[in-house]
Symmetry: C2
Subunit: 376 residues, 2 copies
């Protein structure tokens, strides 16, 4: 009878009404009923991305949309600047190299945000065709200064290509207002869906770059998708059940209102960070934390893997450890999507017990007290 | 209160138990519970493909796996032979050209199967690195002679790359025994799932070709996926809910047994074809029909679009028309996956009413009588 709580930085919990939407019998994707769904979803996605542009809907994980962001807008041999501040920054470099681009990296220590000034100074020297970066680096819990970088790229020929997988629907990242060129996201984060859908939005500047791009791109051909979306269709068979769920999830986001969603997530993120500190823990990314995920350093002598294991096996709460160089050093919890204030308190309470069991000494109850106080 | 029946050649109906499996709360893809699911799914996929090779699981539509089949095994400038006998044959050519391959086509009239002899004679002259073909061409309802072509390619350096999207789980296409090199399929046909998953199986010869391939491939990198599958993981976040459904669907296929599934589908296909002819209709692919889908020529003066519309709006049965050059000329019905004998009879009965309404004259009841007789 154990009740489980999913608090990993993706996938995130799926609301019951979305699960039930997806469990409806499958309908044909070229028939009027599904086209009606897609028509509504197109408008709701524009609301979510805060854009007048079409948002491309792909059957893939977020990485597929990242690949498409590169393969649709760049040319063989193009020089790109990648902000590498974690595992997903490295993924941009890997994708760019796989497509024969010349990659220059800004290597930012894990847990830190890039400085917009540094990006600007490198762009001035480097003649890069694009900057590739994360808005929120899920592996470290850092938020990067996308707006400040966009303020520079907007007036230049450089494309600003942003992975918003743990940003869109988490904190404000208004596509048109900030003047981003490509923004991608996935379904299993703030969108409250299972993984399997990815999305991409392109600026006029990016669509012009698409015309000149010479990289091979077929399944992820955004121009073909945009053309098909005009008649409420996709180029290839879409992930129908996930799109039925998407309709329901986006309706809920719209009904709540983006501003309210952002405020709620920000409050839960703040409560989580302060509760962790009240338990004597140190944040992995104290200076520029992402509202999507909090990364916490485990105290000396304690194995992060044990924290994750006890949280899962004894308390039924799924959190995750660190990846690559942060493995064993940190654990991560999410506060985006279908997560409530009560979930945050429950997670902190379980964490207090877990850390006590593992020998970490701290004033008992302080974490829960801090979280409760801030969330009240 | 209208009860609907989905009889399109993809998507196909999803069993209630599979819908409910997918509606379970999402679990994390790197945690033990999901890894256990993936471990079982890997074994069940080997049973389905009749292979000892690993079957790659992708979050994409079937077209993604087709792209990966090309981008993982071939090199820029390679010469390939494409069997173009319908819309999906053309898709192979489009993908191959997008990746800079040199394409030679065998243009087969729509509704006809390619001759193995012709393929063999072109291969002898042409030094092609690969043959790209469909096992079942969904747009025309034709089945191609894969085994006979494999008998030739198996002993040669040429790779045989087969789109089995409406073949795997529909009729026998034993990967190891026939010596195919790449076989791909999608989730929304015989696998009784919503669209959103694709699969690919590679022979030793194909894996060796992968080592030499120089085409850009990141999201669809099969070698990376194979390595991750060894520890019951995928390279990127998998479509978790669809894989939960896949576990249930593959269990049902295994419990029934492939032989029995094939026999049942073949019987329903035969009954459908003969019932159509008993209604005075002509088959679009009489010589080498696929067991997955029956394509039927509409009688002169009747609009295929009207047949589809009346079947959907008056009878609640979804079938599809033709694509591209077959548009307006044919309609198509499927008999793979979660389709019962009763569904076939119901579809034929509704079709009799529909065609009568549209002015086609035929001996009333003969279609239903023939279908019932054969299915009894």
């Amino acid at each position: 009878m154990e009740k489980k709580l999913l608090m990993t930085p993706g996938p995130t919990p799926v609301p019951e009404s979305v699960l039930l939407s997806m469990a409806r019998p499958v309908i044909h994707h070229r028939h009027p009923e599904f086209r009606g769904v897609l028509k509504e979803v197109r408008e709701l996605l524009k609301y979510l991305f805060e854009t007048k542009q079409e948002v491309i809907v792909l059957a893939s994980s977020g990485t597929g949309a990242m690949e498409g962001a590169v393969s649709n807008t760049l040319c063989r041999g193009d020089r790109v600047l990648v902000v590498e501040a974690g595992k997903f920054g490295e993924r941009w470099s890997d994708i760019a190299r796989a497509f024969g681009l010349e990659v220059e990296q800004i290597e930012v220590p894990w847990g830190k945000a890039v400085s917009a000034k540094q990006v600007k100074s490198m762009l001035e020297k480097g003649q890069h065709r694009a900057v590739l970066m994360q808005a929120s680096e899920t592996s470290t819990g850092v938020r990067h200064p996308v707006k400040e970088i966009a303020d520079y790229t907007r007036a230049s020929d450089t494309l600003l290509i942003v992975d918003g997988i743990t940003a869109v629907g988490v904190f404000p990242i208004p596509f048109d207002e900030w003047g981003l060129d490509v923004l991608v996201t996935g379904s299993q984060k703030a969108l409250m869906l299972p993984p399997g859908l990815a999305f991409a939005c392109l600026s006029e500047k990016a669509w012009k770059a698409k015309d000149k791009s010479d990289l091979p791109c077929y399944y992820f051909d955004f121009a073909k998708e945009r053309k098909n979306l005009e008649t409420n269709q996709t180029s290839y068979t879409p992930a129908i059940s996930l799109i039925m769920g998407l309709q329901e999830a986006l309706r809920r986001i719209k009904e709540t209102g983006l501003e309210k969603v952002f405020a709620e997530v920000a409050l839960m993120a703040k409560a989580t960070r302060e509760a962790m500190q009240a338990m004597g823990l140190k944040l992995y990314a104290p200076d520029s934390p992402s509202e999507a995920v909090t990364a916490v350093l485990v105290p000396g002598g304690i194995d992060a893997g044990q924290v994750v294991k006890i949280m899962r096996d004894k308390h039924g709460i799924a959190i995750t450890g660190g990846q690559d160089q942060a493995k064993g050093k940190i654990f991560r919890v999410a506060h985006m999507g279908y997560i409530s204030r009560g979930d945050i308190v429950a997670m902190i309470a379980a964490l207090e017990q877990t850390l006590t069991e593992l020998g970490h000494s701290f004033p008992s109850g302080h974490g829960v007290q801090k979280a409760t106080e801030l969330l009240a």
